[in-house]
């Protein structure tokens, strides 16, 4: 039986299955939104608690028809927003700051892309917040466009354009990075 149906029948009995199945998504979305693991863990936990309370109140028919993934993503984004309401808006600067700036004297390291993750983290950190979140949800966490539109509560076209614009900016930044590497390698070779 589908999870949403099982939740409608026996919330207490099946909620742990929901957590098991979707913790990856919820934690991932939280991490995209808040930028560090410690806060993401708090947000993920709070999101599931809210999801439980909501399911508790919904009539069974409504629960049965729910699309759990975008619904959970949406709750998580709301919780993340509240989590940081009192703090600075750009928490993911943390991540950006943890990553060292491209070291000019070590272009070879970059060229070999020994740490691919760092590169992408840094490139993502360069995006405007709105596009970074859209790209992150789409391409890091794997939400589909309809799920993304649902989670962000925005029209499909608008989230698509955020993602496309974000990817375009990433590509430009990526190419610029490659050029720096190539130039410095040429310089080295000379």
């Amino acid at each position: 039986m589908e999870l949403s149906h099982r939740l409608a029948d026996d919330l207490d009995g099946c909620f742990a299955d929901l957590v098991e199945e979707h913790q990856d998504l919820v934690f991932g979305v939280a991490l995209r939104a808040v930028g560090n693991r410690a806060d993401a863990e708090d947000v993920a936990q709070e999101s599931f608690v809210r999801a439980y309370r909501a399911l508790r109140q919904y009539p069974a028919e409504r629960v049965k028809g729910m699309l759990l993934r975008p619904w959970l993503a949406r709750i998580t984004l709301n919780v993340a927003r509240n989590h940081f309401r009192a703090r600075r808006p750009l928490a993911d600067l943390d991540v950006a700051l943890e990553v060292p700036a491209p070291a000019r004297e070590e272009p070879v390291v970059l060229a070999e892309r020994r740490d691919e993750r760092r590169l992408w983290m840094r490139l993502m950190a360069g995006l405007p917040e709105r596009q970074r979140l859209a790209v992150g949800l789409r391409h890091v966490e794997g939400l589909s466009y309809p799920e993304l539109a649902n989670a962000l509560d925005r029209p499909l076209g608008s989230v698509k354009s955020d993602v496309h614009r974000g990817v375009r900016l990433l590509r430009a930044a990526f190419e610029a990075e490659q050029r720096i590497i190539e130039t410095s390698e040429t310089r080295k070779a000379v």
């Binding site: 934690f27 693991r37 936990q45 608690v49 691919e116 790209v135 990433l170």
Partner: protein, 271 residues
């Protein structure tokens, strides 16, 4: 165009490396926060299968197997939250059962037990009972004396009758001083006798000795006296075995109590 496509793929592949797995304890802490962290398993027990319920703090409820539905209902009635059947037994629970119920593994560290909701007195009774070795028995009066409430013998009996975790906390190893086996929450006196028999205890001796006026046995070589089922008492050879009816009698004979079973008189029997 082709190059652009490869690059797009490169970007999406690169972005996927940013995905991170949630921390290992996340699901458990969520379930705990919601009061949904309780599970149970069905395991073989000494006199038939057992349902063993456990949460983050440890084993919370044990009952003899039967209808899972009524076990789940009982759990909800006692704890005010649901319990779900688990697919497998967590290692620390399995270890606890292996060592406490079956004596198959050395006891190591504290037994994972969740006795939080019990009143202090009951918890003390259960933790004291946990110390009684497999295959041995102690009177209710011993538990009472050991926890510093020598007159609370009846209250000890009541606390043990309500033992939420029988077999692990071996309430079956607590018997009456007069040799009667006493009550047993997990199936009455016959079940109690059966469990003790699986541990190798001579249950006939339980009443035979007190009927003959024997409460303690001593050794005339060491001048130490024990409860009859104490492992030190069993090492005494028949020709050196001295029966006693009271602690007072042992004192007059110049015997001292065994340091492992720490025998005491039942209150009101001291003379």
């Amino acid at each position: 165009m082709n190059e652009a496509l490869t690059e797009a793929r490169l970007i999406t592949r690169g972005l996927r490396t940013l995905h991170e797995r949630p921390p290992a304890g996340l699901a458990a802490s969520i379930n705990e926060a919601l009061g949904l962290g309780d599970h149970y398993v069905e395991l073989p027990g000494p006199i038939g299968p057992l349902f063993v319920a456990f949460g983050a703090r440890g084993i919370s409820m044990i009952e003899r197997g039967g209808d899972p539905g009524s076990f789940e209902e009982q759990f909800r009635a006692d704890f005010g939250r649901p319990v779900r059947r688990a697919a497998k037994t967590p290692a620390h629970i399995e270890r606890a059962i292996e060592s406490r119920v079956w004596g198959r593994q050395a006891r190591r560290g504290p037994v994972p037990l969740d006795l939080e909701r019990l009143p202090d007195f009951e918890r003390q009774v259960l933790l004291k009972t946990l110390e009684i070795p497999r295959g041995e028995v102690r009177p209710y009066a011993w538990v009472a004396a050991e926890i510093g409430r020598p007159l609370a013998v009846r209250a000890v009996g009541n606390a043990l009758a309500r033992n939420p975790v029988p077999f692990v906390v071996p309430c079956h190893r607590v018997v009456r001083s007069d040799g009667r086996i006493g009550q047993y929450g997990a199936g009455g006196p016959e079940a109690k006798r059966a469990v003790l028999a699986t541990e190798g205890l001579d249950t006939d001796e339980l009443w035979r000795l007190p009927a003959a006026g024997v409460r303690f046995v001593g050794s005339d070589t060491t001048h130490i006296f024990c409860y009859p089922s104490c492992r030190n008492a069993r090492r005494i050879t028949p020709e050196h075995r001295v029966p006693f009816r009271s602690v007072e009698q042992t004192r007059r004979a110049g015997y001292r109590p065994c340091r492992s079973c720490r025998p005491v008189d039942a209150p009101g029997r001291a003379a």
